[in-house]
């Protein structure tokens, strides 16, 4: 059965049809070309012809011209539209004329850079020119670093390495910085929020170092389709940027299916789980032989799905090894094997986290299946773009979970055929971030008194650092004067830089993977069942001090789910914002949040019933951040309906809805904020809900929410009230079993006492 037949088959499957809320068809688009530019180097031209490229796509042509005119550009194109050529072409053109020209390519992840190196090395080899490309990242062996520093024409790295390994040691990179003509930033839409605010400051530092060495590079960026690519890039670079978005690449016909799993419990409004539903759909897809990529939202889900699908493959008398998982935590070598297996079709189904969403070269597959909404429309498009060989038909299926955001999207598919409303924002003047980079910049080069790093306040900030004895001001300059290496104290991604290594004690103490320190207490605590390549491992011991988890293979009928406890302490109230006739009070301030994993539940595979528990003893992880909180009126307690436990159920319900709906109002990930309900807050003894930024120092999310809080609270009330379920469901106040029987009604009642409408 080919893909067209599969699509027909699905269209005629009435069971399947019933689940669809929308079947969108995007027509095929033909290529739009322009001839090679007149000034293109003849050697380059013949190389391109050799590679079967006779003309440029319109966006490649425009990018080439704009870059040749010296402009900073951002090229916006979908997946697989030849965007690498958009920047390789002008860069190589220049390098053929000028042997000293250098370029820096930045990719958001290490994995992405590998393909790029292959691509430019291929170009250089075909040109028979000594244009050297090197990857420079944490894995680069020390003995070749010296060569890279002096002889690398194109240095491929990531922002983290630029920040920690290159800029602070700029004197070792004179050749690069003196001759730096181009800085390529790929997948720039990935840099929003915290990461983007950091990147923008790293760019400030980069430009400063370039000025010192007398260079003034041009920036060439690429972005997926979002609403404000130009604005985002201009904010990050603090430069005027030319937008190139006339995509000329062809695309095949695309079917985009919105699939809502059936309600299994009308009373509870519960829908069938994404994992089970995906398995059902795959039962139809696998026998067709179509190559499928499944995106799952968590590492654990990836492993669960691989396990289920391998069992399914066995039932279908198929080689289970044709089904593979792919996620962070697999070793690079393992990943390369999987990528290759996909390209040469030895692997039929890959289940991945968003690790494969960005441009890692795995070829184009037939079907992209999203097991749950990936959290943003831009991501959904990128994941969908993994399916569809050029000019041939492709199929995308979005399977919604019961989460409020998924349910909202599945009911509003118009976002996918109208303009994408999502805007990406950064705040490069977020004080903790800005200060971190101001320190790094001071370490790299002393600031002059009149120098500008950020508009208006550079001098005040530097004076502050001088008072704090971080800098020393003398002779009109600020000098670094601490005995530390400031870049080591700043992680661009707010993930702890340390990892916990996972060691299989029964296989020659082989390292099978790693987990970041912050996730380690939940993923690999002692006695956890850890899934790796869908094999179950039992964690014998988590040696916290050594950052090592010792595991061995097991085959049991359950997995574990960590129990994590959160504590929240108000450190300082910075703002009170309630109006006089508001029956509740709202605050914004500084809080300390500590998280600790105290135990785990054993959950039976397939039935998901709880079959046991255990305790673990691990240290707390603490962050200080900003929070918004509402203290609800005392009258609640005088109403006989509101017993302590009913207030608790209501608050939990409100928290559940807020947690999930906030990303629609403030561009962020569901996991960027946390919502914590407390029946009696230790701070005030009142029923309270806290919303805090899950980022050290805060990133302005809860602050923004503070200004539009009534709007969001009212939306939550509306959403909960109009939800068709009985006593609460995952789409509104959370499953009734967890929220209690009164979660929904109590939540609505509490929200109504707030008199939200003016």
């Amino acid at each position: 059965m080919n893909l067209e037949q599969l699509i027909d088959y699905l269209a005629n499957d009435s069971e399947f049809q019933k689940r669809l809320t929308k079947w969108l068809v995007f027509d095929a688009r033909t290529a739009r070309h322009k001839p090679f530019p007149d000034d293109l180097n003849p050697n380059l031209m013949s190389i391109l012809k050799q590679k079967g490229i006779e003309e440029l796509f319109t966006h490649q042509y425009d990018a080439y011209n704009a870059i040749r005119q010296g402009k900073h550009v951002v090229v916006v194109t979908p997946t697989a539209s030849g965007k690498t050529l958009s920047y390789n072409l002008p860069v190589f053109e220049d390098m053929l004329l000028n042997r000293e020209t250098r370029a820096l390519y930045l990719f958001p992840t290490k994995a992405l850079s590998q393909d790029q190196v292959n691509e430019t090395q291929d170009l250089a080899a075909r040109l028979d020119k000594d244009i050297k490309t090197f990857t420079f990242d944490g894995d680069t062996p020390v003995n070749i670093r010296r060569t890279i520093r002096s002889a690398g024409h194109i240095v491929v790295t990531n922002p983290d390495m630029l920040h920690q390994g290159i800029l602070p040691h700029h004197t070792l990179w004179i050749k690069l910085f003196e001759n730096l003509r181009y800085v390529v930033i790929d997948e720039i839409h990935a840099y929003r929020g915290v990461f983007g605010s950091h990147l923008s400051n790293v760019v400030r530092r980069l430009k400063r170092i370039c000025r010192f060495y007398g260079s003034d590079p041009q920036f060439i960026c690429s972005s997926a389709t979002i609403a404000n690519p130009q604005e985002l890039v201009e904010n990050i670079l603090e430069e005027n940027v030319t937008l190139i978005d006339n995509n000329g690449a062809p695309s095949g016909k695309k079917h985009f299916l919105f699939y809502n799993p059936p309600i299994v419990n009308a009373e509870l409004g519960l829908r069938r789980g994404v994992v089970n539903e995906t398995r059902q759909i795959m039962r139809k897809l696998i026998p067709t032989g179509a190559q499928v990529i499944i995106f799952a939202r968590s590492r654990q889900r990836v492993e669960l799905l691989v396990t289920y699908l391998r069992t399914l493959a066995q039932q279908l008398k198929m080689d289970p090894d044709k089904i593979q998982g792919y996620r962070g935590g697999y070793l690079p070598k393992q990943r390369r094997i999987i990528e290759k297996g996909l390209k040469n079709s030895q692997i039929q189904v890959v289940v991945s986290t968003n690790a494969l969403e960005l441009g890692i070269d795995i070829g184009q597959l037939d079907v992209s299946l999203m097991a749950g909404y990936p959290g943003s429309i831009a991501s959904a498009w990128q994941q969908s773009g993994r399916a569809g060989r050029r000019r041939s038909t492709s199929l995308t299926i979005l399977v919604a979970s019961s989460s409020p955001l998924d349910q909202y999207i599945i009911e509003h598919p118009s976002y996918f055929f109208e303009r994408n409303p999502e805007t990406a924002h950064i705040d490069n003047n977020n004080l903790p971030i800005l200060m971190s980079h101001l320190k790094c910049a001071s370490f790299e080069l002393p600031f002059k008194e009149e120098e500008i790093f950020t508009q208006d306040i550079t001098g005040q900030l530097l004076d502050f650092l001088a008072e704090e004895r971080v800098l020393r001001k003398t002779d009109g300059k600020y000098f670094w004067m601490q005995d530390i290496y400031p870049a080591d104290e700043v992680s661009l991604r707010n993930a702890a830089p340390e990892n916990v290594v996972i060691i299989d004690t029964h296989a020659n103490k082989q390292v099978i993977g790693e987990v970041d320190l912050f996730s380690a207490p939940e993923m690999v605590h002692t006695e956890a069942i850890y899934f790796h390549q869908s094999i179950q491992y039992f964690v014998d011991q988590l040696d916290w001090d050594e950052r090592k988890a010792y595991v061995h293979k097991v085959n049991v009928d359950h997995y574990t789910d960590a129990i994590t406890k959160t504590d929240l302490k108000v450190l300082d109230v910075l703002q009170e914002g309630s109006e006089t006739d508001d029956p509740f009070q709202k605050f914004f301030g500084e809080v300390a949040v500590s998280r600790v994993t105290t135990g785990y539940k054993k959950i039976k595979l397939h039935t998901h019933e709880n079959i046991g528990m255990g305790r673990v003893y691990l240290p707390e992880m603490e962050i200080q951040t900003n929070a918004l909180w509402w203290e609800f009126p005392d009258q609640l307690r005088s109403d006989p309906y509101f017993t302590e436990s009913i207030i608790g159920e209501g608050l939990r319900g409100i928290a559940h809805a807020l947690q999930n709906l906030t990303p629609l109002y403030i561009m962020c990930d569901v996991s960027d904020i946390a919502v914590v309900p407390m029946v009696r807050a230790p701070f005030s003894q009142k029923p309270t809900i806290y919303v805090y930024d899950k980022y050290q120092g805060g990133i302005g999310l809860s602050k923004k929410l503070f200004n539009i809080d009534k709007h969001v609270l009212d939306a939550a009330r509306n959403h909960i009230e109009t939800c068709p379920c009985g006593q609460g469901c995952p789409s509104c106040t959370g499953p009734a079993m967890e929220g209690g029987l009164f979660g929904k009604s109590s939540a609505v009642k509490i929200l109504k006492t707030l008199k939200l409408q003016d």
């Binding site: 700029h170 370490f443 790299e444 900030l461 002779d475 000098f479 004067m481 005995d483 500084e590 200080q624």
Partner: protein, 399 residues
């Protein structure tokens, strides 16, 4: 919130600075000058120069330094002591990178049997340019730079400071001898660490009184900048001075050890040098060490040296010598298998006596299997599979 409030908020949960005394550093600087009888640079007082003399030789001494062996052939040619410049920096941090600043730069050279030590103290940041221009001119007069761990620390840092001051950072005519590398080659087995401090105590038998430990130096300089208190700066200047004196003494000591390795009374050190001789194919040296060991020292260690010696003979196809060594080693617990293997290789590949080679191999297999039975935990699987492989091949050749 305006930026002041934000900063107040930002600093609220950070460490509060201590109250600093007045920045009246200039008068302390004068006190420092007087203490060491130094001089300020003219006209801008950008640094303090201190010049001191240390008597290096008691009697007339040959001033040629030759350390090809100890430097593992990195410095093949002999050089003149007069052309050496000793150097050591004290910095405001130990992390490295562009933000690390050297506030005290010590240089030493030899003149008429004396070591002249010139130290340059920078009383603040931002005053490097004139000093570094002068140092560049000064360095051009020398041919060999001598340091301790300078290759990976002091010298790159020095270059970084030059680049930051827009001065040329290339030194093509200067060879750099890092004494740490030599010290490691000699004493890596004898000492837990080969830092200059340990070497001074253990080798030069010097004790420093009132020395400031290296890790306190950055903080001491910060304190000086804030308070002008010179107590610790005096200690640092002394520390740096003694470092440079030790550099010169060590170089002379290495020069003597190169000629007369038996000066080393330390068996481990001598053993390390024997290994170095082996790695450098230096038969004459190796023989000296073996004789020395057999006569006076630990005979157990001699076996390893004999192994090295036999391998050197093998490299030169001096088969008679090699075979006699291997035959003696057959009964060694540690090197018996090695000897059998080498002999079997010789019989198989050199004289092509496959019968003999097979006998030796069978004997080795028998030995390994016996050993494995005796110590069931330490399997010599690698050795065993190598010998089994050899036996199969030999049997093939014979059939």
């Amino acid at each position: 919130m305006d930026i002041k409030d934000k900063l107040a908020y930002y600093s609220a949960y950070r460490k509060k600075p201590k109250n600093s005394k007045s920045d009246n550093v200039y008068s302390s600087l004068q006190a420092l000058r007087d203490y060491f009888d130094g001089e300020f640079s003219e006209p801008s007082t950008s640094y303090l120069k201190i010049s001191r003399k240390f008597s290096l030789f008691k009697e007339q001494n040959d001033s040629t330094i030759a350390i090809p062996f100890l430097s593992a052939n990195k410095h093949k040619a002999a050089f003149n002591l007069k052309d050496c410049i000793f150097f050591d920096l004290e910095t405001n941090g130990l992390a490295g990178g562009a933000g690390t600043f050297a506030f005290l730069l010590g240089f030493g050279y030899v003149e008429d049997g004396d070591l002249i030590v010139n130290q340059y103290f920078l009383p603040d940041y931002g005053r490097e340019y004139s000093l570094y221009t002068q140092l560049l001119n000064m360095l051009n007069q020398y041919h060999t730079l001598i340091s301790y761990n300078g290759k990976s620390y002091d010298f790159p840092l020095f270059k970084t400071r030059l680049i930051l001051n827009h001065l040329p950072g290339e030194f093509n005519s200067l060879q750099h001898v890092d004494l740490l590398h030599i010290a490691r080659r000699i004493w890596k087995r004898s000492l837990p660490a080969c830092d200059l401090n340990s070497i001074e105590t253990y080798v030069l038998q010097k004790e420093r009184s009132e020395d400031i430990p290296g890790y306190l130096i950055p903080q001491a300089y910060m304190n000086f900048l804030q308070t002008g208190v010179i107590h610790d700066i005096i200690k640092i200047i002394e520390h740096n001075y003694h470092d440079i004196v030790s550099l010169a003494q060590l170089l002379l000591l290495f020069n003597r050890i190169e000629k007369e390795p038996n000066l080393l009374k330390d068996n481990q050190a001598l053993f390390s040098l024997a290994q170095l001789a082996y790695k450098q194919n230096h038969q004459a040296y190796l023989n000296r060490f073996i004789t020395e060991y057999e006569k006076h020292r630990d005979p157990n260690k001699t076996e390893q040296m004999l192994v090295w010696q036999s391998l050197l003979h093998k490299k030169r196809s001096e088969w008679v010598e090699a075979i006699s060594l291997w035959e003696n080693l057959i009964r060694s617990r540690k090197f018996g298998l090695f000897a059998l293997e080498e002999l079997a290789k010789y019989e198989e590949h050199v004289v092509k006596n496959y019968e003999r080679a097979l006998q030796l191999t069978t004997r080795a297999i028998h030995n390994v299997q016996t050993l494995n039975e005796l110590h069931s935990t330490v399997f010599q699987d690698d050795a065993l599979s190598r010998f089994l492989h050899r036996r199969r091949r030999l049997q093939g050749k014979l059939s």
